[in-house]
Amino acid sequence: MRLLDEVREALRYRELFDNLVQRELQVRYKNSALGVLWSLANPIARALVLFAVFEFIVPLRVDSYSAYVLAAFFPWTYFLTGILDAGESVSKQMALVKKVYFPRELLPLATTVANLRHFLLSLCVLGLYLVYLYAKSWYIGDPKLPPAEIFLLPVLVVMQTLLIGGIALYISALNVFFEDIKFLVAVALDLMFYGVPIIYFLEQVQQTTVVAEPARSVLYYLFLLNPFAVILTSYRAFLLHPQQAPLGPAAQETLITVNQGVPWWAFWLCFAVCVLVFLGGYRFFNSRKWRFVEQL
C-alpha cells in the first residue's frame, strides 16, 4: 500500500525528525536568558491573571471559574499555535526543500510535536492549580477527587494532536501554493474562539432561553459535531466536576448543572473524526509534496 510505504520512508528519518522538533524548541526562545522556562512562565502568568480576575474583580457565581476557563483555554492555545505555526512550516523552509531530499511531511509534523511539548508543560501548570483546588476541598471538609475520566486524558491529548497534525498537513501544503491560506486560517481561528465553550459552558448553549426549540437543539448538535468544541469540553469535564450555576437574566434565572461533558457517542465520534482528518491530511500532503519545489 502506498500510504504504508510513505510512512516507512518517513520512519527512516526519525533522527532528523527529533532534530527538527529540537530546533523548533531552541529557536522559539533563542537568546533569551530563561529559555524554555518561558513555556512555563506564559501559562503561569495566564493562570494567575485569570484567577485574580474571576476571584476578585468579576466574581461569578461559579466556584473556581478560572479553573474551568483554563482547563479549556490551554488546549485552545495548543490548537491555535499548533495550527498557525504549522501553516508556515513548509513555506518557511523552501530553501532547504529545494535542495535536499527528506520526507517533507516531517516539517508540519515536527512543528506539531514541538507545540505538543509546550502544551504538556502548560498542562503541568494546570495540574498544580488542580492540586491546589482538590487539596482545598479536603481542607474545607468537602473532600473531592478528580473525576475518574481523568484517566482518559492521554486519549484526549492524542486525539487533539491527531486533529492538529491533520489540519497542519492540509494547510502547510496549501500555503505553499496559496499564501492567503495562513491569513484565512488566522481569521477563522480568531472567530472560532467564541464559537467553542471556553468562556462559557456547553450547557448554557444546550439550555439557553434566548433561542427557542428546535433551533436550540440544532445549535447544541452543531457544537457536538464540532471536534474543537468536543475536545475542549472534554478536557474540562475530565479534570473538573459538574456544579450548579445560575442561567438566564436575573429576574427569571434558573439553576443548571454545568460542565457535564459531552455524551459519549459525541466523544468517540470526535475521536474517529480526528483520526480521519489526520489520515486525510497525510494523503493530501503527500499527493502535493512533489510539486512544492516547482512553485516559481
Binding site: 533522527e15 532528523l16 530546533r23 529557536v27 530553501a95 531530499y101 516547482e294 516559481l296
Partner: protein, 262 residues
C-alpha cells in the same frame, strides 16, 4: 563480451520535466475568485525543463553541466537530488550500496539549511541529520569539520549564524557536506564564494573525493572551475543534451554557439 562493467552511479533514462508558469493573473485564491467573478483565468503556459534526457554517469566521474540560464542544468541536478520527480523517465543509482536510498550530499547554497538564529555548531548537527547522519556520527566528526571550515575567529562556531559573512556560511556548509560520506556529491555554484585559501581546500577535497571513487555532478558558469575539476562535460540547451564528452571539446562547442571566445 568484455569484462562486466562496473555499475553506473547515475542512470538518467528518457527523463522529461515540464513546468507550469503563470504568465499573468494571480495564482491562488485570488486567481480562483477572479476566475469566478470576472471570468479571468490566470494564463498558464507550459515550459519545458528537460526533454527526453539520457545520461549515464559512471562511478568516480566528475561531470560538469554547462549551458545558459534556463537550459535545464539545475532541473537535472534537482531531479538527481530527488527533490523533484520527473514527468516521464527514470533516474536510478545502481552503484549505490542501497540503490533505493543513495547517499547524496548537495553542497547547499548560501543560507539553505542553516537557521539564522542557531549557532554554527547547532546548525552543523542539524545539517548532518538532513544528510542522514546521527548525532553520534556528527559528534565524532565535529573537530574535523571545524578544522575544515577553519574560521579565523573560533568563537564564531558558537555564535548565531546570522552574524556570519557569506564566506563563513559556505565554508561551514561545505565542511558539513564533505564530512557526510556521500556516494554522490552535487555542487551548484557554491565554490565561487569563500577566499582563495578556502577554495584551494575545496579543490583539494574534491580531488580526494575523486581518488576515493566518489561521483560528482557540478553546475557552473565558471569554465575555469569546470576545466580544473571535471572529467567530462555535458552541454544542455533548451532541456536537451546537445554535447557530451571531453571537457575542452564541449566547452568549445558551447562557446562557439553563444558567440564567445574560448
Amino acid at each position: 563480451m568484455t569484462a562486466a562493467a562496473p555499475p553506473n552511479a547515475i542512470e538518467v533514462r528518457n527523463v522529461s520535466k515540464r513546468f507550469h508558469v503563470i504568465r499573468h493573473g494571480y495564482a491562488g485564491i485570488k486567481g480562483k475568485l477572479g476566475a469566478l467573478f470576472k471570468g479571468q483565468k490566470p494564463e498558464v503556459t507550459e515550459v519545458t525543463g528537460l526533454d527526453d534526457v539520457n545520461v549515464t554517469i559512471a562511478q568516480g566521474e566528475t561531470v560538469a553541466l554547462i549551458g545558459r540560464n534556463g537550459s535545464g542544468k539545475s532541473t537535472l541536478l534537482s531531479l538527481v537530488a530527488n527533490v523533484m520527480r520527473p514527468d516521464a523517465g527514470t533516474i536510478a543509482f545502481p552503484a549505490s550500496a542501497d540503490p533505493a536510498h543513495p547517499r547524496i550530499a548537495p553542497l547547499l547554497e548560501v543560507g539553505a539549511g542553516f537557521h539564522p538564529d542557531l549557532t554554527g555548531i547547532q546548525n552543523v548537527f542539524f545539517n548532518g541529520s538532513i544528510l542522514g547522519l546521527t548525532r553520534a556520527q556528527m559528534a565524532e566528526r565535529l573537530e574535523s569539520i571545524k578544522a575544515f571550515a577553519d574560521f579565523e575567529k573560533p568563537e564564531y562556531y558558537d555564535a548565531p549564524v546570522r552574524t556570519y559573512s557569506s564566506g563563513m556560511f559556505v565554508r561551514l556548509g561545505f565542511a558539513v557536506a564533505v564530512h557526510t560520506d556521500p556516494e554522490i556529491i552535487l555542487v551548484d555554484e557554491t565554490m565561487a564564494v569563500g577566499d582563495e585559501v578556502f577554495q584551494e581546500k575545496c579543490y583539494a577535497r574534491i580531488g580526494e573525493f575523486q581518488r576515493e571513487g566518489r561521483t560528482i555532478v557540478l553546475v557552473s558558469h565558471d569554465m575555469d572551475i569546470v576545466r580544473r575539476v571535471a572529467t567530462r562535460a555535458l552541454w544542455l540547451r533548451q532541456g536537451r543534451v546537445t554535447a557530451d564528452g571531453d571537457v575542452e571539446d564541449v566547452i568549445h562547442a558551447y562557446h562557439r554557439s553563444v558567440g564567445l571566445p574560448d
